[in-house]
């Protein structure tokens, strides 16, 4: 296999991004639980402690509020930091620091103080983790002015976006998906960065636009392949960052296809999917042929039972079936 098509895991892509950036910028300090010698609960810092030591890989006890606040304070004082919440759920212990301090600081100080901090956490349903370890509240973050929100779906995107986050002047929430850590993808050896606010068209199509984020991208892509066999040409777009959002690439696609389906692992009520549908209504009202559709998790706490959990989150079958329903609707008469 040539270097150009080297395949690595999502987890290793994150480690590579960190290693490269921590070598390049010796001010970067990484704070979290079990991220030192242990290498991270998800192996997300594997090998870094050996190279960078205790000063730069700072293990803490269980104190998300204190550790996140400290990461933000250090960033305000000029030390770039990463704070690893491990499970995104645990960021709730520290949400006041993220929302009230980090996100507000640039504005409150008239741009005089920046907080170059990356808030890292793994979200989402995976193998019956249950209600306390499965949340996907990136829509809350996206509703907080001052926070950038990154949702990488592939190893390639994770590495390129994480590196960009580690050079960004402000707070960035880099939200991985727990069930993606062992997935594999092509990641070039040579350095690259992915700018924020550039959506990726994963598959081109003409009948409808499917927008999906994070793990839902994989489901959307699989659904699109099946739909193609069944005569439906779906365009699949991954925004990759929801703040900032590549509004134009999404609306251009909707204008082209006239149909929109959004796949979102959060519950639909007040979701990011809802925001995309609002955007479609504002920007593509004339071009929409049928009402846009949200395919989201059900509005219930994450169930433990595999049967119930599978019922709660979107699946390829459900996406295919609901897309067919959308395609059956007659076009609007203008």
């Amino acid at each position: 296999m040539s270097e150009q098509c080297r395949v690595i895991t999502y987890g290793d892509a994150g480690v590579e991004a960190l290693r490269e950036e921590m070598r390049r910028d010796d001010s970067i300090v990484y704070i979290g639980q079990g991220i030192g010698p242990r290498g991270g609960n998800f192996r997300q810092t594997r090998g870094l402690w050996k190279e960078f030591g205790d000063d730069r890989l700072r293990d803490t006890g269980i104190c998300e509020l204190g550790a996140t606040g400290a990461a933000i304070g250090a960033a305000m004082a000029g030390t770039r930091t990463v704070v690893d919440e491990v499970f995104l759920d645990f960021a709730l212990e520290a949400i006041t620091q993220i929302v009230q301090q980090a996100a507000n600081i640039s504005y409150m100080s008239n741009g005089k103080i920046k907080a170059p901090v990356v808030i890292r956490g793994a979200m989402g349903s995976v193998r019956s983790a249950g209600a306390h370890h499965s949340h996907t509240f990136y829509n809350w973050f996206a509703n907080t002015p001052g926070l950038k929100v990154v949702l990488p779906a592939t190893p390639y995107d994770l590495k390129g976006l994480f590196k960009t986050a580690l050079r960004d002047p402000g707070p960035v929430a880099v939200i991985e998906h727990k069930s993606l850590y062992n997935t594999k993808g092509v990641v070039p050896e040579e350095e690259y960065l992915i700018p924020f606010g550039e959506a990726r068209t994963i598959r081109e199509g003409k009948d409808l636009t499917i927008v999906a984020m994070s793990r839902m991208v994989d489901l959307a892509t699989k659904a699109a392949a099946r739909l193609a066999e069944e005569g439906v040409s779906a365009e699949v777009i991954d925004p990759r960052t929801i703040v900032p959002l590549d509004r134009h690439k999404i609306t251009d696609s909707i204008k082209k296809t006239g149909r929109l389906v959004v796949i979102d692992e959060s519950p639909s009520y007040c979701s990011f999917a809802g925001e995309l549908i609002a955007i479609a209504a504002e920007d593509c009202f004339d071009e929409l042929q049928v009402p846009p559709k949200r395919i989201c998790s059900l509005g219930v706490p994450n169930p433990f039972s595999p049967v119930l959990e599978n019922q709660m989150i979107p699946t390829v079958d459900r996406i295919v079936s609901e897309v067919h329903q959308v395609m059956k609707q007659s076009r609007r008469k203008h």
């Binding site: 996140t68 606040g69 250090a74 030390t79 009230q100 640039s106 409150m108 100080s109 741009g111």
Partner: protein, 325 residues
């Protein structure tokens, strides 16, 4: 002659400087109170009247690159750290010339150019932030220190516990200064906690805790000096509990009399920071005439701040979207 001056612990000149600073903080807040009551200032304000000796005694040891994190009751900390009164007042007025161009206000005053890292609207929140800033200072190895002010209301919060613990275990150059004014809004400290000695809590984190008379600028000066020197020399953090009192209500508009007696307020005023500093100067041989000259100098400074803030422009409405990221 004052014993302290005699023992050359503090020069007459320095004492005079302290007196003027304490008075500046006092007169500034009384002016803010007047402007606020006359409906001139938007938002709401929490005044520092009565606690001035703490900010002055601590900040006197800090250079411009040492950082201060403050509270909702933080105008005095900003002034003591060297932020000019005129840009603090302009910010309270929401003017474009204010320290945050009118985007912050009383509880979001930021002046990093003076090493002032902000007042804060969230009780307890600055303690983790200051701890992180101290981590940054330690890693930069330039002997800078960070001071975090907070009230007794903050010490029962999780923020205090988690952050002070990190500061201690990482041996950071930070001084935690608790201004124990006995009331968190209206809640008496003795009703909020079984152990009313904040300083004693330091032992729980394996760090030094000291208690000091927060009404006496010289006492605060001495205690803070030792703690700040220790922090500068990589000796780790200190928790200082300053026993103090606010003469005014929690915020302007709260009479502050529903939960404490007038006698208690009067009793604390007997040991007023301005009076105590003035007495020390008189004891040290400074004349009434010299003191009156000092008073006038401070009064002029406040008058100039009012004139500056009042005449300053409002921010342009179309700049509302600037500086979000």
């Amino acid at each position: 002659m004052s014993e302290l001056v005699q023992a050359e612990l503090i020069s007459k000149e320095l004492l005079l400087t302290y007196y003027k600073k304490v008075l500046e903080l006092r007169l500034f807040e009384l002016k803010v109170q007047e402007l606020y009551r006359n409906g001139r200032l938007p938002g709401f304000v929490h005044l520092y009247v009565g606690e001035e000796a703490v900010a002055v005694g601590v900040c006197s040891h800090l250079g411009i690159e040492d950082l201060v994190f403050s509270t909702h009751r933080g105008h005095g900390h900003a002034l003591a750290k060297g932020v000019p009164a005129r840009i603090v007042l302009a910010e309270l007025w929401g003017k474009a010339t204010g320290s945050s161009g009118g985007r912050g206000g009383s509880m979001h005053l930021y002046a990093p150019e003076y090493g002032f890292m902000g007042t804060n609207g969230i009780v307890g929140a600055p303690i983790p932030l200051a701890t992180g800033a101290a981590l940054s200072a330690k890693l930069k190895k330039k002997s800078h220190v960070v001071v975090c002010f907070f009230g007794d209301g903050a010490v029962n919060s999780g923020s205090f516990h988690e952050a002070v613990n990190l500061g201690a275990v990482w041996n950071l150059p930070v001084v935690y200064v608790c201004e124990n004014n006995l009331y968190a809004t209206e809640m008496a400290f003795r009703r909020a906690t079984k152990n009313t000695s904040v300083a004693s809590r330091a032992a729980a984190y394996g760090m030094l805790g000291v208690e000091v008379d927060g009404q006496d600028v010289v006492a605060v000066h001495e205690t803070a000096q030792a703690a700040i020197q220790r922090a500068r020399q990589d000796g780790g953090p200190t928790l200082i509990e300053c026993k103090t009192y606010r003469y005014v209500g929690h915020h302007e508009g709260d009479p502050g009399t529903d939960y404490r007696t007038r006698e208690e307020v009067q009793q604390w005023k007997q040991r007023d920071a301005v009076k105590l500093a003035r007495k020390r100067l008189l004891d040290a041989g400074v004349t009434e005439v010299e003191l009156q000259a000092a008073d006038q100098e401070v009064e002029r400074l406040i008058d100039e701040a009012v004139e500056f803030a009042e005449k300053s422009p409002e921010p342009a409405a179309d700049t509302v979207n600037e500086h979000v990221f």
